[in-house]
Symmetry: none
Subunit: 153 residues, 2 copies
DNA sequence: CATATACCCATTGACGCCCATATAATCCCA
DNA sequence: TGGGATTATATGGGCGTCAATGGGTATATG
């Protein structure tokens, strides 16, 4: 499976290491399984992450915004300049930079949430609350959710 | 037959394993017969499941939403982080995650109900009650049922 | 030289793989 | 067509492997 799905709760050890969930490691392209990129989410107090290959896709998305709008600069700056790359060690662990941990309020434990082509890292309680909130918002519009889930090709 | 049909009642063993009904295994694409996805039903207290191919369809649809909108995050979170993938072993058994068992009230036994392109897993008694209820609802509207059944493609 | 980080090894518990059995379904041949 | 033989399915259990986590030590980098 080459998608990031499901959620996992892992611990940060004394050295600051945390395991990238095994299924997430497998979702990375076989070539670069030892490097991931991390950046602050623009929409929530969480960290977003993905394989380095995904950068091109992000660039494309931003490029599709109106070049002369304020949004363009804002997104472009907020995302690209904030990106950090991290190495995943042989045991599948990596270090979350201090600044990102602060941004997300993460201390000794973190929650990984699959988002398809990328994933989010949350302070566990905040992450769970976020899931509940967005599910609640969506259930108000059952029709659209059902469309996404049950539509046939 | 590449559709999930009929109903089956199987047991959960001490290790938490349960057999995916043989006919359901055959309904999965020959390629990925050892992996299925499970998620909480939005309409009932049951678990829904299907092959991974369907998940990729869903991913594609979500990917087409506006990346920078709030809806995108809601869909992405509610679907990808709630979905779990499970491996089907050589004997055709798999594990139902604890959280999903709780959601559906499943303990030692589970009922599988074919739903065409996907299937549902119920706590047996609740599942049977649900079948009765929905049949009763349908019979109240015989006209629309007849329409569906006799309509020609 | 001091701190950070990568590599190596160890532990524990969960899960996958293998083998086994019983019951049910199917086949096959006289 | 009957009845024994073969196959498949659901289920049980042993055991090795892997994932998550902990810690020691080498190496790099300023």
């Amino acid at each position: 499976m080459d998608l990031f799905v499901s959620k996992y709760f892992n611990k940060i050890d004394k050295k600051g290491r945390i395991s990238l969930p095994s299924s997430f490691r497998n979702a990375l392209p076989k070539a670069n399984r030892n490097e991931i990129i991390l950046y602050k989410s623009i929409k929530s107090s969480s960290i977003e992450g993905c394989g380095v290959g995904r950068l091109k896709e992000i660039a494309k998305r931003i490029n599709n915004l109106d070049f002369f709008s304020e949004d363009y600069d804002d997104f472009s700056t907020s995302i690209f300049s904030e990106i950090v790359t991290t190495n995943v060690d042989k045991e599948g662990r990596f270090l979350i930079p201090e600044e990102l941990k602060l941004y997300a309020g993460i201390k000794t434990e973190a929650a990984f949430f699959g988002q398809g082509h990328f994933f989010q890292i949350w302070e566990p309680k905040q992450g769970l609350k976020n899931t509940e909130d967005s599910r609640r918002r969506l259930l108000k519009e059952k029709k659209s959710l059902r469309m996404i889930l049950t539509q046939q090709k």
